[in-house]
Symmetry: C2
Amino acid sequence: MGETKHRTLTDALKAEILSNKYAASRAIPSETQLSRKFRVSRTTVRKALDALHHEGWIRSVRGRGTFVTRQGAARKIGLVVPGVSYSEFFPPIVDEISRLTRDSGYTLLLGNAVDRRPEARARQTISFVRDFAAEGVAGVVYQPIEMIADAEKANRAALSVLDAAEIPVVIIDSDFTKSPHRSGYDVVGIDNVAAGMSAAGHLMSLGVTKIHFQSRPLCSASVNDRRSGVIAAMSSSGALARTFRDFKAEPDDIAALKAHLKRWRPEAFVCGNDTAAVKLKISLEKLGFRVPDDIRLVGFDDVKYAKIVTPQLTTVHQPCEKIAEVSFRRLLSRIADPSLPPCTITLPADLVVRVSSGQPMSRRKKL
Amino acid sequence: MGETKHRTLTDALKAEILSNKYAASRAIPSETQLSRKFRVSRTTVRKALDALHHEGWIRSVRGRGTFVTRQGAARKIGLVVPGVSYSEFFPPIVDEISRLTRDSGYTLLLGNAVDRRPEARARQTISFVRDFAAEGVAGVVYQPIEMIADAEKANRAALSVLDAAEIPVVIIDSDFTKSPHRSGYDVVGIDNVAAGMSAAGHLMSLGVTKIHFQSRPLCSASVNDRRSGVIAAMSSSGALARTFRDFKAEPDDIAALKAHLKRWRPEAFVCGNDTAAVKLKISLEKLGFRVPDDIRLVGFDDVKYAKIVTPQLTTVHQPCEKIAEVSFRRLLSRIADPSLPPCTITLPADLVVRVSSGQPMSRRKKL
DNA sequence: AACGAGCACTTGTCACTACAACTTTTTCGT
DNA sequence: ACGAAAAAGTTGTAGTGACAAGTGCTCGTT
């Protein structure tokens, strides 16, 4: 089969549309004009146009002409991430979304805020979003701004620009509003509450009772949900609920850690994420505590170095590629039908048991 | 435009395919035969076949002929619900899914287990599922069996029949496994943890501290998640977590209720669902407690009579139509691409504040 | 100046023809 | 009797021609 006339014509027209040759308000050349220009019959032209119509690039009106649709004109997708290099969560997501956009005939615009200071990243994010709206992207995959004082306000400000231009948005990782509130956008990520329950449930099954949760002062909604999951798991076994404590501090704040350990004597820390868990391990060792013999640790995300550090980190795996795939598909669906009800899509997050969570209590006592 | 020749031919062929006129292994009549039979040109026949091909009913092989696809042959959807009449949750879902299946050219097979005894409903469900598999349905929307001792095992048994036949399944309402575990199927429902947080958060904002959670001894995973949400919300304001108590009993178990009230003196009950809340209200009144003056109540689901009973019930609204719509769309997606990763889709569930949750504490004390 | 008829142009539908690419069946030569 | 070639059938591609249905503009009449 290979290259047929109508197929080459389809591709040629796609390329012309992508290069903004045709304004959205004006009609593209008529079927007879196209048949003359490309030296094919009108039948062939119609077959090519049918294909484009089916893929949502154009729409035709009898008597008036054929027009490029909004989606067709702006076959670009924006991806907003606050600093690819600052987390191991994003590189695979960027890779996967790049692949998917290319496969679907879209162009990817990457807005990667790279400033070290979170406030500057917030400002950068807003300027990216403005650019995307000006470029007329068909949709945006958005990772919320975190680690600043009024994160929700900053995210609202950025997304209101896209709302004004009626550009669909899918949020990845987790919503920027604190549970149980919702932002009203689609969200794709893992079930952080369930992840927290898995982490705590594992420790409890080992016989651990005094489980504390470490999180940084300005933490994201996902970390809050993980904390909720830990509490929910512990309270499901009655009395255990009373042994929960928060350790809300930077993981390398040695003084705060020392005071916390002395006062509450935790048996295990569940940390907001793997990065914090590794830092906390270093802090604990500085204070003379060994992991997992004296204090057990569990993290979240399953970053690359989680199985390289000593001891290997027990953590909850974050399926980045699948999150990217699902969020992109969802964005395409929403571009096709903006009236879809906003929903949260969560993917399974499996606990990966390694060394840092330790052995069962009874066995340890025997040694 | 109206009825064109190719459109009537498309519909005629669809009807013929639906009536099992053509075996999947044999080719349907050739284009020239169809053009003679329907007295139209081959151009028109091809246009009709193109449409059917695009909708996934048929596939053609050059030189051999045109064949009905698996999906085309089995354009039936199964809907399994354990007793439409026993809950206000299901009638709107059945209505909506009936409408959507019709609109999409599918036939709906309804498996409605109607026995009063839950164990009998479980057996009925399995026989429905067998019938569906024998009929060769393209997919099943499944509401898990509840209220029996080993519900998870029963659900697994029913769904394994569909797995063996490689029939896609979407579960509505909530998974049949206890959090944080997942069954591995798609799930469409509300975020029950967030709903529980909303309910408790509302009571806390009124100044209530002693919030208890009522649930029946054999409750579903969704009720467990709601309970987790209540606990999570209460523990986020520190000391409050210690005032939580479970009241795990039938809502019309007066003796148990009396003992619970005397021992713990709750200020409010969050109930597993609206039905239980209304029953609990009656029990409370029998014991001389008024709602909301002595005890506040919050339910879940926002059933029809929630705003008819006295006092009107504060509850969390369950968006049944949207759940039906989203689950059906998801099933179609999964039929089209069975390799999609299984995910949980949750929709927003808004708190509806009415009378049963009472006034703010301070104002009440003034009166 | 306002209005309407007509004209030029658009897309949508339909028919017929021709051939290419491929598969299955039949026929014919060995 | 067997195998290869031919024939007959299938879908896929491409062209031509015709008319229907709808839009927008022009020109001429009132």
